[in-house]
Amino acid sequence: MPGTMFQIGRSGAAAARASLDVTSQNIANAANPDYARRTLNARELVGVSATSAGVLNGVRIEGIARFDSAIVQQQARSSASELARADAELSALRDTELALEQSSLFEGLVEFEAVLTQLEGSPLEPALRTAAVESARQLTSTFQFANTTLGTASGQVQDSASIAVDEVNVQVEELARINQGLANARDGTAGQAALLDARDAALRNLSEQIGVEATFDKRGAVNVRVLDSSGSPGPLLVDGMATNALTSATAADGTLSFDVAGSAVSPSSGALAGQAAALEAQADYQTQLDDIAAQVIARSNAAQAGGVDIDGNAGQPLFSGTDAADIELALTSGSQLATAPAGSPAGSTNTSNLAALVASLGADDGPIAGTDSLLLGLSSRIAAQDVTRTGLAAIAESAEATLLAQTGVDLDAEAADLVRLQQAFEANSRVMQVATELFDTLLALR
């Protein structure tokens, strides 16, 4: 029947046109990282008739399908989350390394030791005594500089962490809104596909800040839990349309703790996990730096107390303070350096007390060795983290590539589709033309 044939041709042409639209949309979004490739689902339309085997009615557009793979998405998210953790920790540790290496603490301590050793050569020379005291003064400002830069590095990480917490809460709100949209969206619509794109993008952004576990219902709405480092299921951030905000608290030593709806949580991955780990490391390095400063103060003052200065008076403390922040020079002139042992007369050239100080500064358990081991520990940790990070980056890259292969737009495939659909459209027009000609033939019967 020409009417049916015309109908079939028309539906085919319409389906081809709609598919061309989808292809154009794919091409237009080829550079959009959040976009998942769409296709048009079509289905044969068959009418039921009592008299014949069936009535053929052409094709029906079912709806827009979006390429999606929950597993691949999950892999890409978790590997990106791990990478973000390693990146955040590494960059914070590099800042710490820069702070401690730039402060030249090691060089300052060696210089102090060297000037004192030189003073042993001519203990009464005023220039050398002044140089020794000035070198001690330089050392105190080096300690304070190291302390300040370490504090600045730690402050920067805290700032980044608080921005990351805000970002988490923004994405959490966004996901709740998307969940609401998905509940109202009709299946197979372009709107639903766009919402799903937005959902995956929000989940990806969220995972970069904090590792999460996502569970989806059949409409695509998502519930999000924090992945806790203890392995037990963490608290819900997104529960349908309800949200729980992530909050952070900073302890006195600068370390961070997190909390969702009243329950403490320690993120296992994401930038926040890396920042928290870096802050703990920085607190540890701060303690070590303070210990070194305390050692310098204690050993120098003990040596001073065991000797007499150039005038034969009992030695006064060389430094005041207790840690890297408040270490200060306590002597006012080079003549106050107690180079000679207790009981020596004024002007004695006996340097055994000074030699004891030099030996205790350079001892294997002394501040110079301590600074070297602090720097060695830090740089070894960074070197090891760098190796881990390279591995994680490779994993994340391949997961991202797999995801793009699954959901990304392949321009060559779209070009082939363009040709194919154009031909389909032309073929369907031809069907309509043939139907018209058939109808004309019938009408022309005499």
């Binding site: 030099v358 070894s380 392949d410 321009l411």
Partner: protein, 305 residues
């Protein structure tokens, strides 16, 4: 539609990351060549960085120890010069004593000898109180000095102590700076402690006009002068040996600083040959991947439609 898609986004992403990796290592090599420094941050090679820190410390301390050794060598040769002067004046005093012991020397001759001996004693006192270039007494031990003081009765007594100051000149090596005056100018004469000052002034006093038996006193003084000479020449030998030791140590210090510089260069400097070869290699790889990127990205079906 189930075919393996080759996502355009994935292609660009992959090419980009490969090329930026290459560019990153290119830049690192360039920095290494430009600065000549292989390790700019400790984390690039933690063990080598720690070794470099230790070497820098050894180098700094070695430089200071070289200064100390130079000063020590100056002090020792100065002390040696002074003791040499003492030996000369004691020899002269011995000559004078022999001449005074000769019966043919008249009273006037002895008076002149007494005068010269008194001056020699003055010179001895000055030499014993000599200072280093930095103003520390050479022969007072660790005491502030002066080494010898003249008492109101004209006699001379030691004001220093028996301790010898030491100077660190090498890791774990401390050398004694000199000799205390009591070891040079004081000695045992027939079971009695006496000093070169006492011997000289006693002889000078015995040769004054009017003192009986000057020839016998002069003869007796020769023993004392011999003992003083022996003590001085012994000290001269000690100082000379020490100076020789310092020179050996100075040679070692130069060797050590060369070794340190060598190790520092080995650990921390860019191996230019290797770095340039690797730069070339990476550059070739980068150029090749840029070329293949532009070729492949030109391959699009859209050109064929």
């Amino acid at each position: 539609m189930t075919f393996v898609s080759n996502s355009t986004g994935a292609f660009y992403e992959r090419s980009l990351s490969q090329m930026s990796d290459l560019r990153g290592s290119l830049e690192q090599l360039q920095t290494q060549i430009a600065t000549g420094v292989r390790i700019t941050r400790g984390s690039e090679d933690p063990a080598a960085a720690s070794r470099l820190r230790t070497l820098a410390r050894t180098d700094r301390l070695n430089a200071v120890q070289q200064d100390n050794a130079d000063k020590l060598a100056r002090d020792l040769s100065e002390a040696g010069d002074e003791v040499q002067g003492v030996v000369n004046l004691l020899s002269r005093a011995r000559e004078l004593a022999i001449r005074a012991a000769n019966d043919t020397t008249g009273e006037n001759g002895r008076a002149a000898i007494a005068e010269e001996l008194a001056q020699l004693e003055e010179e001895l006192f000055d030499r014993a109180n000599a200072d280093t270039l930095t103003g520390e007494p050479l022969f007072a031990g660790t005491a502030p000095g002066p080494a010898y003081i003249r008492n109101p009765d004209g006699s001379v007594s030691y004001n220093g102590n028996g301790e010898v100051p030491t100077v660190p000149v090498a890791p774990g090596t401390e050398l004694e700076r000199g000799l205390p005056g009591e070891q040079i100018f004081q000695f045992d004469l027939n079971g009695t402690q006496t000093s070169a000052f006492t011997v000289l002034s006693a002889l000078s006093a015995a040769l004054q006009p009017g003192v009986p038996d000057p020839a016998v006193a002069a003869q007796a003084a020769i023993d004392g002068l011999d003992a003083a000479l022996e003590s001085s020449t012994r000290s001269q030998t000690v100082l000379g040996t020490r100076l020789a030791w310092v020179e050996v140590i100075q040679d070692n210090q130069v060797d050590r600083s060369l070794t340190i510089a060598e190790q520092q260069s080995e650990l921390g400097d860019t191996d230019l040959g290797e770095a340039i070869a690797r730069l070339q290699q990476v550059q070739t790889a980068l150029e090749a991947s840029q070329l293949s990127f532009s070729r492949v990205s030109n391959l699009t079906l859209f050109d064929a439609i």
